[in-house]
Symmetry: C2
Subunit: 419 residues, 2 copies
């Protein structure tokens, strides 16, 4: 029998969760306080075994699929129900932090430890998963494990991926003992929640504790090459120059201009620029640069793209110059399940945490899970919005708050017995 | 006795000059039709010996100074007069052309051959010089030989310059047999003329044959570093970004804007850009770029610089960002001697060539010579304004025209005997 007040007052133990995060961060810990634990390395193996051992101590049932995704299940009362899942990844960037991914996995185990301690049984099983190779630093594509699970990346394609030394995913899975037998995607899922640091500055700036994530932005990546005419900076008068950089600049400004037209969610970034010949006294003959535009609404993302293309055509025609635009990547926007999103928001409110909607600008395993089951994400602030960096940091109170919202959101779906 | 009509009708032989240019271009000739004859290499030695041998056949007296500048003198009647000089350089860029420098030297020898053929004696000696290491590709600084000659570069500094293999100028001069004994600058000079391809597109665009060069632009080089805040392109909203590239862009546009304010001679170029971390999905945290501004008028060049500094301060203050601006090079403007300039213009007109004034945007040995003696430069068109390139090209008729203007300009100063 679980009383209503016990449930209402149920909280994770933040200190225990923070302690877990620090312990896991020692495996591959760097001098600057970060973590380097690339997917399927010996260190990843150590990290995986540490997490699995912790799960065993909590009495969880472990299954591993053919791409090394590892599921840790707490049984439910009703054997017919699919598990309510949570999780993330424990692989990191080469100069990664302690929280990205790891927080989502360990917060899930903390939820289960809390349920265990208070003897709360649920109708549906509760399950924590860590997905293989979310970061994509050693093997591409990124989000490999969840991509294979969702059927968006073929197992063969994933197995064939190799690192810079030519080592293959399948061999490395076998080597570290995580080549499972379960067919990816045959594992049932009733709903999926993922708690994660924001990896952006919005919550910190707005001084909110919880980010309710209604959607993940769609993303389009382009390579743009502007052709000009290389000439000496001295003898060539301004009027007859065909300066590739000055023309490229106007497109770079337009990228930002278009994003500004579609605030607050529009994003436009030029992150990479190569000038040729890149010589101090030569008018650039060619400039190549990247364009990254994002928006959570498909139609708007399409509109942004078409404004960009139109502008490039206009410049090309006005200036009589050749401009190549090539799309190199596309991820459509992802809208999370409204029940999951509402549940997260309600949990945050009932727990008394300040909260706001934050659209995710970055990719997460939850994007692929959203194609299979009702899915929602919870963000907490991270210091200065910095992630993928050894200085990545998050406050203990926020780490605890995110896990509490995860606990109550999962309970709302897994349903405590006798409530 | 030289008759007035003989002098008036005196012309160089363009075919012979073009043939000389082609022959010299075979020493270090490249597959693409250019020349690679870096200063003080074995090929430079071969080129120098070829020119000296040609000068000996013309009966010229050869002297070499301590920096390898090589003077080839045709005696004058009046032993008190300083020589009227012409010349340029025969070293090339690694992917250089047949005309840059070489034209100025061989046109000088063609002038002398023409005088010899017609038995014209001059009051003052006529002298052709090739200066050591004008290009600066193998050893810095550029315009080394004329710089030492003019006392602007010390002999010790020049001797100490080493190439990427650590070979020193003095040793290389000795090795190729061109370490002379004459003290640089002790060689007298009555006036100096230099004929050169324009290295820019103005003459070709305006369909003029002769460029009369009243001045060489002053030049200021800066390195500018704009500091921003590196952040993820996805999660970071537009309003709170500190995008180093977008701020740098506005300065890059201003560089061109300032040059456009001071047409037709103002120049503003950003040729080199480095973005950090230069990653597709990271908002640039830092951008470094070069600024090259030029103008032939000192006061205007100063004004351009102050407008640039003012704008950078304004952006820095408005956006609360740190911008570093460091001057890395300064060459003041050079105004050629008005007698020389007028003489060149008159010669072009009397010879029936279309002509116009063209301010030189690039550096030449004549800049240093202008500090010692009355100096003037003659430009001829080059194809598409292209130079420092194996495809550098010039028309035979222009090569001939430039040499004729040189001939008559030098005669005006050297004074034919009995006229």
């Amino acid at each position: 029998m679980t009383s209503a007040s016990l449930l209402r007052d149920l909280r994770v133990r933040g200190d225990r969760l923070c302690q877990s995060l620090l312990e896991l961060a020692q495996i591959g810990g760097t001098l600057k306080g970060g973590v380097c634990r690339l997917a399927l390395t010996d260190l990843d193996k150590q990290g995986r075994l540490w997490v699995v051992e912790k799960a065993r101590r909590l009495g969880l049932e472990i299954t591993i699929d053919q791409i090394g995704n590892t599921f840790m299940r707490r049984l439910g009362k009703n054997l017919q129900l699919a598990p309510i899942m949570t999780g993330s990844h424990i692989d990191t960037q080469p100069t990664g932090g302690k929280y990205d991914g790891n927080y989502g996995v360990l917060a899930g185990l903390e939820v289960i430890e809390t349920l265990n301690e208070h003897g709360i049984q649920t109708q549906a099983p509760i399950e924590v998963v860590f997905w293989t190779n979310e970061e994509g630093s050693r093997f591409t594509p990124v989000m490999m494990g969840s991509g294979v699970f969702a059927g968006e990346v073929s197992l063969d394609h994933a197995y064939g991926a190799s690192d810079i030394e030519g080592k293959k995913v399948k061999d490395e899975l076998q080597r570290i003992g995580f080549l499972g037998e379960q067919i990816p995607g045959e594992h049932p899922c009733g709903a999926y929640f993922e708690v994660h640091i924001e990896q952006g500055p919005v919550l910190e700036n707005k001084e909110k504790v919880i980010g309710v994530v209604p959607a993940v932005m769609g993303l389009r990546w382009f390579d743009c090459i502007v052709h000009g005419f290389e000439a000496h900076a001295g003898p060539t008068p301004m009027d007859i120059r065909v300066d590739a950089l000055q023309n490229a600049i106007s497109i770079m400004q337009k990228v930002v201009g278009i994003a500004n037209e579609f605030k607050p969610h529009g994003r436009g970034t030029v992150g990479m620029v190569q000038v040729f010949p890149n010589s101090r006294n030569v008018i650039p003959g060619q400039v190549q640069f990247s364009i990254d535009i994002r928006h959570p609404d498909s139609a708007i993302l399409e509109k942004m793209t078409s404004l960009l293309r139109k502008y490039i055509l206009q410049i090309s025609s006005e200036k009589s110059i050749v401009i190549d635009l090539k799309e190199v990547s596309y991820f459509p926007p992802c809208n999370f399940d409204s029940d999951c999103v509402d549940t997260i928001r309600r949990a945050a409110i009932e727990l008394g945490y300040s909260q706001m909607d934050v659209v995710s600008g970055a990719g997460h395993d939850a994007i692929y899970m959203n194609r299979l089951a009702p899915t929602g994400m919870i963000f907490i602030p991270c210091k200065d919005g910095v992630s993928h960096n050894e200085i990545e940091d998050a406050k203990a109170e926020h780490i605890e708050a995110g896990a509490n919202v995860l606990l109550h959101s999962m309970l709302a779906f897994a349903k405590p017995v006798n409530h």
